[in-house]
Assembly symmetry: C2
């Protein structure tokens, strides 16, 4: 390779993504992840963009230059960023199959302090609170950063599947004049003298766009001012939302989601096989995801686990877990669609079931004990939507621009919203959704 290659200064160094070294001299860069002095040499673990590479540093056999290019007299330190020229030698005992023997190190930057937490072990020996407090540094840990490589691969898979199925990606406003999901869990702000809100979902906008492109999706932030302080709530999360027109029933939405998840999980090992192995991820098999009606689910849980029904119109977290247990025992599936949620618990735009107006053409997807998606068919008829809003004591005038589509003509349609962090957390069997969010926001945390 040519060191003076113009186009991209990085390309003159072997990028570890290319997987294999060639025997001989290589150029490589990264951070000193770990340094261990042995007798007569040091182990240096170099952290590159994706891997940890074992290097053997022998004093006197490696020239070390400082940031200014002069000979470096001091010691090497962890978290220095360096460029290295080294002899690559096959070494079956090393994880990459190679060992590097540096002959020249150029220090690019020197950290001002040693880290307040130890990040170079397999796990970080600290509480979740501490891990999150020092997130900019703790994400450098190999397991921590593997999580978000997997999350990136999930987004790639979802996107690819939706694009292949003719969904158009949209970017809709997060500053809105009206909340879509109702309730008090909405952030308010002053917008040039008027009250505005942060979007609780792209619901209204993706419906509007069904009238334009028939099928649309958005992957973006969603804001919920919920005061819950649990292992499964975030106040800002990444919503994977899609909406599609000309459906004949909500089951089509479920099948589309099933296809999307299957495609994504099947593609994961190619995109991030090493990270999956590092985190011991059990990828669920997806056949045909079973359906169960909400009321049937309630009854069966109560019967099987001899549990009194406290809340009639919703599943509590414990019930979600038990239901998944029950379904997995019976069908082997780690996913289940719970359908026909009570009308009273669904938003004003949810379509009721003609056969029984007390339930809606809606569903949740549960995965390993947790709700990861909510979706359903929407009301598309103007008169029906107006009637339902009046029934609920809502003022249609406040929803003027939303109702424009019902007034102007809409096809039968529906969609869903998946929480990216929840899906990631269940896939990785993490105990807290915060672990699947780069910089989580909760009732106590707004930094880093």
């Amino acid at each position: 390779m040519n060191e003076n290659q113009e186009n991209n200064g990085n390309e003159n160094f072997v990028r570890m993504e290319s997987d294999a070294f060639e025997e001989g001299m290589v150029k490589i860069h990264g951070s000193i992840h770990r340094l261990r002095k042995m007798s007569g040499f040091s182990f240096l673990i170099l952290r590159t963009a994706r891997r940890l590479v074992q290097c053997i540093l022998e004093p006197g056999r490696c020239e070390i230059l400082g940031p200014d290019g002069s000979v470096w007299e001091g010691p090497l330190r962890e978290e220095m960023c360096i460029r290295m020229e080294a002899q690559a030698v096959r070494e079956p005992r090393s994880k990459t199959g190679w060992e590097l023997h540096p002959v020249r190190i150029r220090i690019l930057s020197v950290p001002a302090q040693t880290l307040p937490v130890v990040i170079h072990g397999k796990e970080i020996p600290a509480s979740l609170e501490t891990i999150l407090d020092y997130r900019p540094m703790t994400l450098r840990n190999e397991k921590e950063r593997a999580v978000f490589r997997i999350q990136d691969a999930l987004v790639r898979g979802f996107t690819e599947y939706l694009q292949r199925n003719d969904f158009v990606q949209i970017h809709t406003p997060k500053l809105v004049s009206q909340g879509a999901e109702g309730g008090a869990n909405i952030f308010r702000l002053d917008y040039f003298g008027r009250e505005a809100y942060l979007a609780q979902s792209p619901q209204f906008y993706k419906q509007m766009m069904v009238g334009v492109y028939e099928r649309v999706f958005e992957i973006g932030p969603v804001f919920r001012a919920e005061k819950h302080d649990t292992a499964r709530h975030l106040n800002e999360y990444t919503g994977v939302d899609f909406e599609m027109g000309y459906i004949e029933g909500f089951e089509e939405l479920c099948r589309m989601e099933e296809g999307m998840i299957r495609h994504t999980l099947e593609g994961l090992s190619e995109l991030c096989g090493e990270e999956l192995a590092l985190l011991n991820v059990r990828i669920p098999r997806i056949g045909s995801i079973p359906f169960i009606r909400f009321h049937e689910a309630k009854e069966r849980i109560a019967r099987k686990y001899r549990r009194p029904v406290r809340e009639k119109e919703d599943l509590d977290p414990e019930e979600e877990k038990l239901l998944c247990e029950l379904i997995q025992e019976e069908t082997g599936s780690e996913f289940v669609f719970v359908t026909h949620y009570p009308t009273a618990k669904r938003p004003f735009y949810a379509m009721e079931d003609e056969a029984d107006r007390s339930v809606t053409k809606s569903f949740d997807l549960l995965f390993r004990g947790l709700e990861v998606t909510t979706g359903g068919q929407r009301i598309h008829d103007h008169a029906a939507q107006l009637a339902k809003m009046k029934e609920r004591g809502m003022d249609p005038e406040q929803f003027e621009s939303y109702l424009m589509i019902h007034r102007g003509g809409m096809p039968p349609h529906g969609g869903l919203g998946m929480g990216l962090e929840r899906f990631t957390a269940r896939l990785l069997e993490q105990d807290n959704v915060r672990r699947a969010c780069l910089f989580p926001r909760d009732i106590h945390r707004i930094a880093p």
Copy 2:
């Protein structure tokens, strides 16, 4: 095709994306975009997800059923959503090369009102204000919706290029405890009793992530509480941000962006050739984008156009236009990188040029007269960053979690942020950036 295909109710109808009909009977769905009564028959233009399809409706030769399945006695109306069975006949005079002769129409939904604006012409005969007021409906116009198909294709191209170059896609919080760009143009809100802000950019977070993955990107909303009311400002826009480590100079960032834009523009016609043709889009040729230093640019504009220099440390909009004119005359390029912006006008994290500390290692990309990107190399050394903050009277304690990375060790790095709407608007040579935003937010507008 089998009408009872289970997997996806839409697949039993020809999706127009598949481009060609086969001679014979087809099933298709869409909205009645336009109806024109002629003598003895009607022209019906069906708007599908992507095309306008010409249909010839002959009374007595087409059975029409209403939403409930019974024979429809009333007239057909524009913006009804329908499913249709029709005879496809080759017709060279029609835009798709086909004409449909419906034999059966099933009305799926009936609009409650005719539209307040006429959307079925080539252009919408209304002011921008009106177009935006009725955005959920006006986006159904063929030219309006073509804009956002092209924007979708841009995002696909950018994403694909960055992924091929080992950038990891990230999702960083929009609720933050500290603004990254300084100044008063920041939205504030109450976050459970504390003051929080809406992110003016993902700047701090993408820098943090360089320490983790070396190369990252994010495509997401960015909020600016600017009171500007111009044709090029939005208060919420979609930022295309990337950041990369181990650079040797900011020119690498420019070359990466150049590659990204070239790849994207080269792929456009495959993804949205029809939309490009419909909007007469002139795709710029990208060779090697020329560079010019800020001060040289100022001087040359002043000399060539005999213009007094009013603002010494920035280019005003008129100067941006003139500079692009000048560069295009000289080099043929419709893009130009303006480099070495004055330190005083760049944020506290911008790296100064060692040769002249009054300028920074930074750049803007101008495209057809408008700044579409700002980028540069960042300070990675802790002491240097602290010194600069103190010089500017900033309190480092307020930036505790950001400075964690400088303290802990960072490679030389930099990045940029592109405004998706501005880029789209210049590509399409639109007179107002609002036209390239689905639901624009400005000082007067927060709905729809």
